[in-house]
Amino acid sequence: MRRHHRWNWNALAVVGLLAPILTLSAGGARGAIQDATPAASPVAVECPPDAAGAPEDGVVRVGVILPLSGTAATVGNDERAALELAVEFVNEDRAEVPLPLAAGAGLPTLDGAQVELVFADSQGQAEVGQSEATRLIEDENVVALFGAYNSAVTRTASTAAERAGIPFLNAESSSPDLTEQGYYWFFRTSPHDGTFSEGIYDFIESLNANQSAGLETVSLLYEDTDFGVNSAAALTEQAGTRGLTIAGEVRHATGASSLTAEVQALQQQAADVLIPSSYTTDAILTVQTARQLGYLPQMIVAQDAGYADPAFVEAVGADAEGIATRSAFSPDIFEVKPVAGQVNELYRAATGKDLYDVPARGLTGMLVLLDAINRACSTDPEAIHQALVDTNLGEADTIMPWTGVTFDDNQQNELGRGIIVQVQGGQYRTVFPPEFAVVEPVVPLAPWDQRP
């Protein structure tokens, strides 16, 4: 998912020119804030008379913990730009963007209070995450915490929020344990590995139903860190209920120099479908080795990561053709959901690159949190908690391929899901679910020697 960061000076100049114009137009609409119902907000907010109301200085501060340095710094800074864009929607009058709170400046129920994000760098380290969470709560007086990308950092930072008794919204960590430990203050908008795995099996079922693919047995190949292990566990757990048989699982070291033995093991299992969970270099090596050894399952449906990296398609060329992978987001959404395309234009103007998975999920999560603060009519933690519990956003309220946002008993969003993209003509095209599909899935995989 990594892309090169390239500054687009033309885009910057356009933003520079546009910003004053937008500010001027926002000034014009300011008088009508109280009446301006956000275009896509599903419920008109009615505040109880005893609601605590706006903070004294008219500023609502939200603490954001992200990996702004270290190995995940690129992703962290891309998400930071998306969060700033989300806050811009709220603070300025952006009636043209049909998302919650975009119309009208500030948070309407809090007398048009402005939102301020206080960023902290986790360096991708769990202990730093907890230190920074504590600092944001104690010194910066934030009303809620947001973050933190790395699952381990999210865990320790949310521990600090749980101790202090303020809401923590997570939009980008996929470890299922996070919502399953029953924290009172922890909410997650993003689907987790379990949900994503369901999506993979849904896709396989639909291939069997619609294209008579006859896929019955599955081999799992996974790398040996947090991501791969969690993924394999979720896939194994769900296979039985789907009438699929796990023919075997093969674990490999991350960054392995050879995967010959692993691919030979897969060859012996001779399953219909291979579900690999690996990072980019391992994904490339897997496909190259499979071609050399002549291992070809009927279908490969990967668990995101390396198989969803454009660098993977570039490296293996035609051998990538037909490989499908679970993903959380795809530029195809810009065609299906016009609002996503609109947000992408603004994001590209600010950063010079397209929205992708993590920034898109971050932007969505931030809007969910701010929408809840607005409906709470107060910055009181209990009121925000209740408003988050009551969250009920529909399909049109997000830029994601989700049916909406509502939280289950574990405070996990139950309407989030992944999509399946397939490499067709050297491009990732969305093939599942049908509402977001732009092309039909192709099955089975073409033999290695009959590729262009």
Binding site: Q130, R135, D139, D226
Partner: protein, 355 residues
């Protein structure tokens, strides 16, 4: 504590003043992030002190001390998770396991000379990291969460029995202060004992020490066992402080390097050195990050790294040598001074030379 008092001119007074300042500290500063910084300072002071027993007194540079720290953290957490054993009990058990592990592994390591020894210690911590990452019994890469002790209203609450404090972090501070004092006391005891003299003799010239009848291997193993046990105790504390551990958090190479760095920049082979190093280095890292890192331009890391380089260039003997230099100058004014050589020999244990 008598050794500490004797080893520094000025006797009991500075020690008593420092200790009472440390005891009063949380009452004066109720601010969350300063208290957090203070806890980290004491934690790293203790870990650096433990490193110092092997790396400073005996001159065996280890870049794998995070392994012992991790063993301590995992032992108490596994005992708590599986059998509901209090971390207070898990703490000494972890210390014993870490010490036993250290003796078993370092027995062959001590046959390696100089740089090869340091490389072997790096490999040790990395191997342990990979093993724990793949070990399902300790939940592998997913890490282990220590559940909150919750009160009747479901809110996280304090529990001395299970070493967990959620309403205020002040008790954590006093626990780690107690452990740091313990670590310093152990370091002083080692320094003053026959063991300390043997270790310094080993550091100065292993061959000479052996020819004088010092059982080199045995004393090095004793040093590493003590170092490992003390590190493990802090590992348990850290697990309880974070309430989450994974192999990356407790055993990664940067942690081993940071522990050594604190001791080396503070002043190798002295009792005060690791304390000074932690007092300067940890707040430096916390303050630069909290003030500058939010912008995402990593200026904080540049500044932090730059300051470490400055200390290394201008104070190669460690921060402890600053004090020695001042004292030397003061002494030079008075007639007669026997400490002129102190501070010039960073790899020789400076305290104790005053006797």
């Amino acid at each position: 504590m008598t050794g500490f008092a004797r080893s520094r001119p000025g006797g009991w007074l500075p020690v008593a003043a420092t200790l009472s300042a440390l005891v009063v500290f949380p009452l004066v500063v109720d601010d969350g992030s300063w208290l957090n910084t203070a806890v980290l300072v004491l934690l790293y002071a203790g870990l650096a002190q433990a490193w110092n027993i092997l790396g400073g007194f005996a001159g065996q540079i280890s870049l794998g001390n995070a392994a012992f720290f991790g063993i301590g953290a995992y032992t108490s957490t596994v005992l708590l998770d599986r059998w509901n054993v209090s971390p207070w009990l898990g703490m000494p058990i972890g210390a014993v396991i870490a010490a036993g592990f250290a003796v078993a592994v370092f027995f062959p390591f001590f046959r390696l000379g100089g740089h090869y020894f340091a490389i072997a210690t790096i490999a040790l911590a990395e191997i342990l990291l990979i093993l724990f990452t793949n070990w399902a019994f300790v939940r592998g890469a997913r890490g282990m969460t220590i559940p909150f002790v919750r009160g009747p209203d479901r809110r996280p609450t304090d529990s001395w029995a299970f070493l967990q404090f959620n309403e205020s972090r002040v008790p954590y501070y006093y626990v780690v202060l107690g452990l740091a004092v313990l670590a310093v006391a152990i370091a002083i005891a080692v320094e003053r004992s026959k063991l300390g003299y043997y270790l310094r003799a080993i550091k100065n010239d292993q061959q000479a020490a052996r020819s004088l009848g010092v059982p080199v291997l045995r004393y090095k193993l004793i040093a590493v066992a003590i170092s490992a046990a003390v590190s493990a105790v802090f590992g348990t504390f850290y697990a309880q402080y974070l309430l989450f551990i994974d192999p990356e958090t407790t055993m990664r190479l940067e942690l081993s390097v940071l522990i050594a760095l604190v001791a080396i920049l503070g002043g190798v082979g002295t009792v005060v050195g690791p304390l000074l190093g932690a007092l300067v280095l940890i707040p430096l890292s916390e303050v630069t990050r909290s003030q500058l890192a939010g912008s995402g331009n990593t200026l904080d890391l540049v500044l932090y790294g730059g300051l470490i380089m400055l200390i290394a260039v201008f104070q190669p003997n460690g921060l402890v040598a600053v004090g020695d230099r001042v004292r030397r100058r003061r002494r030079a004014v008075r007639p007669a001074g026997d400490g002129a050589e102190r501070g010039d020999a960073p790899l020789v244990g400076a305290p104790g030379a005053g006797d």
